[in-house]
Symmetry: C2
Subunit: 155 residues, 2 copies
């Protein structure tokens, strides 16, 4: 059995994200894991996630990078604080900015691999660099500036 | 009756985008129009497009900005060439890069207004600046570098 994903540690009331919330039954429910110093997630787009026939739509690519990177930010923040993801208080990050460079058309019908790497970390902010690959070829690169979720966003 | 949207002029084989294709029955089918020198689109997220309860998920915001801006790029390119959108050959743009700054949490349950403004235009590339607002408040800003779709992407 594989270890729990970063998103499996999110508290229930922060687990409704369309991209990565395990309680959002309509959503993508992406799952991110450590792989050495990097993080990794895999996602297979649905046949209707097209840009033009044969290729994945860019909005999905942006979404996958976004959610994988905020998950990566949370996981990195626990590590930074020297504690486990199941310890309290919970850490959750929101996106301050997202940048995606679309390098090549991304083929549909194959799993996509999203990898993250911590570029910068402080007690309030994590900058994560990402790649999104299909069949071993990097099709998009991203950068997410993730900031600790403000208390007033947690209802 | 309102005029045709930019996306209504896309040829059938380029109308399957999840974000803006009128033939993608699973997708968002966003519609963009001129409003003076700017362009505008409106979209009401579904209740499940949440980030955390009460707020819109950032991946959707990125998608709306992306598709509205590539539509804006196409419309601007026809204007640049001095011809109507129903004249041939068809012009269609893809995203080279997308940048979104999330300024404020975007409330869910209300229509979002996405506005575009041409920052730069050449015969191959259009740079579009965008805002996304809810109830008159700008919640996100974006920039899309859109490039003319390569011939080999059109199957």
């Amino acid at each position: 059995m594989r270890e729990k994903a970063f998103q499996d540690y999110y508290p229930d009331d922060l687990s409704h994200c369309f991209g990565c919330g395990r309680l959002n039954t309509e959503g993508h429910q992406i799952k991110s894991y450590w792989d050495g110093e990097e993080t990794v997630a895999s996602f297979t787009p649905k046949p209707y996630h097209t840009a033009i026939p044969g290729y994945v739509y860019g909005g999905l690519i942006a979404s996958l990078i976004d959610c994988h990177c905020t998950g990566t930010a949370a996981a990195a923040a626990y590590k930074f604080e020297g504690r486990e993801m199941d310890s309290g208080p919970p850490l959750r990050f929101v996106t301050a900015s997202l940048k995606v460079d679309y390098l090549k058309p991304t083929p549909i019908g194959t799993p996509l691999e999203i990898r993250g790497r911590i570029e910068e970390i402080t007690d309030k902010k994590v900058v994560v660099m990402a790649t999104l690959s299909a069949k071993g070829i990097v099709c998009a690169r991203g950068q997410v500036v993730a900031v600790k979720m403000p208390e007033d966003m947690i209802q």
